[in-house]
Symmetry: C2
Subunit: 415 residues, 2 copies
């Protein structure tokens, strides 16, 4: 019988006793129910019992995370590490989620629970992980060093396939390394995936023919039906494409697992819906825990917002996400390429570089920042490239812009 354990760190909050709460979670998630049972023997407990390993107290809070009508604080807070025997959980992600996450949020007592981290034993290295990851993304785009410069079709929805192809041509000529469908574009009536592939792939291949550069185009292949998603995947592959956008929360673990086993595409993950899990700091799940599961499932490129994103996420949270992605789970090959995105136009390049460990192993995705550049999209791409040269050379953007007019124009518009 294996002695390995899975350790899960929870941020707990309760007006009651925090050690008792941790103990209750460990009991509920192994053998307990609401009444004593004759069959709950020592042998049963030894096989399955979860155990509280450590409790680190945090500052109490005056406000409960879940509303606590009629109740009053202080709301005690702590990080509790609970270990679960591998023998009882196994290596299936559905089992991990059900036993260590799902049921925990049902308990009476806590006013807050957040899953902070999973510490997975070596047996979990059976999961496939990214097929392409950082080296594969570099190889397929031909970008041996420096950030992979990327853009997105805008407007995000509503263009007909031929109109999209025109935008693709413009972006290829502008010099991007990567283009993607908006995550909201999958296979709607006015622009089915099949029609889009037919319209776009000739542009990509023609550009490759002329320039030797194959721009990576990630098509929105997501479907809640794995059979449909596989057909979408095959359609892209047959036309010579090499990437797909997948809305990981909208396809679920099952969809991702199924696709990864059969995939020939570089899988670019959009995490829409993640905010529901993570936006309240006392509830849900930290990105650190979340991203481990999706990397093990096979995400090659992971969108994680960026500095001064257009969304709610604070910069510190993005920076933590970046570092989380950079940390191997079992080996460096299980790292996904971080995709820095949301409201990016180059102006955040220097800050991004300085705050993420001065690495250039990233994709930098500018949508509006390329399309909306006052001198046109080609200038938009050059502005982004210039911003990253400034970052790499440790020069302030304003200084670098002095003899780089595209960057200067971007700074004038958005700086």
């Amino acid at each position: 019988m294996s002695r390995s354990t899975i350790k899960v760190t929870y941020r707990l909050e309760t007006p009651g006793d925090i050690e008792a709460l941790a103990a209750k979670i460990a009991s509920d998630q192994s053998t307990g129910t609401f009444t004593e049972l004759p069959g709950e023997t020592e042998a049963v407990r030894a096989r399955c019992a979860a155990r509280v390993e450590a409790i680190t107290p945090l500052e109490p809070s005056d406000t409960p995370s879940f509303p606590d009508p009629g109740g009053s604080g202080p709301y005690h807070r702590a990080d509790a590490v609970i270990s679960y025997p591998l023998e009882a959980v196994g290596t299936d992600i559905a089992a991990l989620m059900t036993i260590t996450v799902g049921g925990v949020f049902a308990a009476r007592g806590p006013t807050g629970i957040r899953v902070m981290d999973f510490d997975l034993p070596q047996e979990w290295a059976v999961h496939p992980g990214p097929q392409f990851g950082i080296p594969g993304s570099r190889q397929l785009t031909g970008v041996a060093e420096g950030p992979i410069i990327a853009s997105i079709i805008k407007p995000s929805l509503g263009l007909l396939p031929e109109e999209t192809a025109t935008v693709v041509k413009q972006l290829c000529e502008a010099g991007v390394d990567f283009i993607k469908d908006d995550e909201k574009l999958m296979s709607p009536g006015y622009s089915s995936l099949e029609d889009r592939v037919k319209a776009i792939m000739p542009v990509i291949l023609d550009h490759e023919q002329k320039t030797g550069k194959k721009v990576m185009y990630a098509f929105g292949i997501s479907s809640a039906d794995p059979d449909v998603m596989t057909r979408n995947h095959d359609c892209v592959v047959a036309a010579g494409g090499n990437a797909g956008v997948i809305n990981i929360n909208s396809i679920g673990y099952g969809g991702m697992s199924f696709l990864r086993k059969r995939s020939k595409l570089c899988l670019h993950a959009h995490r829409n819906g993640w905010d529901i899990l993570t936006r309240h700091p006392g509830l849900g799940m930290e990105f650190r825990a979340y991203q481990k599961i999706w990397r093990l499932l096979g995400v090659d490129q992971f969108q994680i917002n960026g500095i001064r994103a257009k969304y709610w996420e604070p910069d510190e949270s993005f920076v933590r996400s970046f570092h989380d992605l950079a940390e191997p789970i079992f080996s460096p090959a299980d790292r996904s390429l971080p995709v820095v995105c949301s409201g990016q136009w180059g102006g955040q390049a220097v800050d991004t570089y300085r705050q993420t460990g001065r690495t250039l192993d990233l994709m930098y995705l500018a949508g509006g920042g390329v399309h909306g550049h006052p001198m046109g999209p080609a200038a938009g791409v050059r502005a982004v490239q210039q911003a990253w040269k400034a970052a790499e050379s440790d020069v302030e953007l304003a200084d670098y812009a002095l003899d780089h007019p595209e960057l200067a124009a971007a700074l004038a518009k958005w700086g």
Copy 2:
């Protein structure tokens, strides 16, 4: 081009202007980005633009749902209905989730968002829905009328397959109609699904041989890998089983969709993880919205807690869930059988009956309430049956217990 729309009701909360917030969501989730774009023409907008249809103001709140450091109330609240063109979303659940749910939670501005309901057009009737539902569950269990009386293996984890089979035999003899694995039990090292099927199915079939009654046993077949889940399904079918427990959030839409198309089993859904989505009343998603999606995907039996559940969920929420399940989406066949559970022992039967519209179309699941009965599990089952007879006859439990000793003993212990 179809004129159909998908209408989504959001409960919004913001210290700012609530109409502006609704308009921003409609714009963000169709064509908008952070800067004006030349390609966003009238034609594009007409194809894809989401529209605010109605705003119903609610009482403002003093406390924000998401923390609002440095901010102050009142936090304005309203229910906003936004319509999305079917042409832009299609009928894929991944598209619905990405466009109308996922991205919405990323916006700056709101201090609270909760998806209250989906109003889906007739085109969405393409989804399979339950294969067995209420009539199929009755037919397979042979319970033509009255509640389907169910129990669960206890202790929930840790028994070896042969030990589990002994409990199954006891429960069959006790007279239950349905037995299930605990949702936390899938295929752990000490009790693989295959070994469990081998140990349990002969007991079920033997009991059928002797009594003519085939107790429905739902095996924990969930896996995050649809191929593994299909193998699990096939293993149960090959041994003569007719049901499976599926942890819907842990397999995801992809897993469920894949399984439903191939399934010969009655699919009993456990919604662990749902609490993360729903427990904070200002955030996430209401069960009403959530259950529609899973019913369309094919859930036959839906666990929804019960009156005085052992979990956090208040009774009113359970009662609403029960009514939500009873309402057809497109036809009565798309209703799942409600499974009333969690801390049930019969004592809640009368209240359940009175508060859920005096229907007996339900499964009543008692785990500890059967196993922990002072006179043994057979008496536990009889106590539950007696409690439901009391409910149906509109008699108070205490009165009915006067000449029903098993119910009297249950009342004495838990009442």
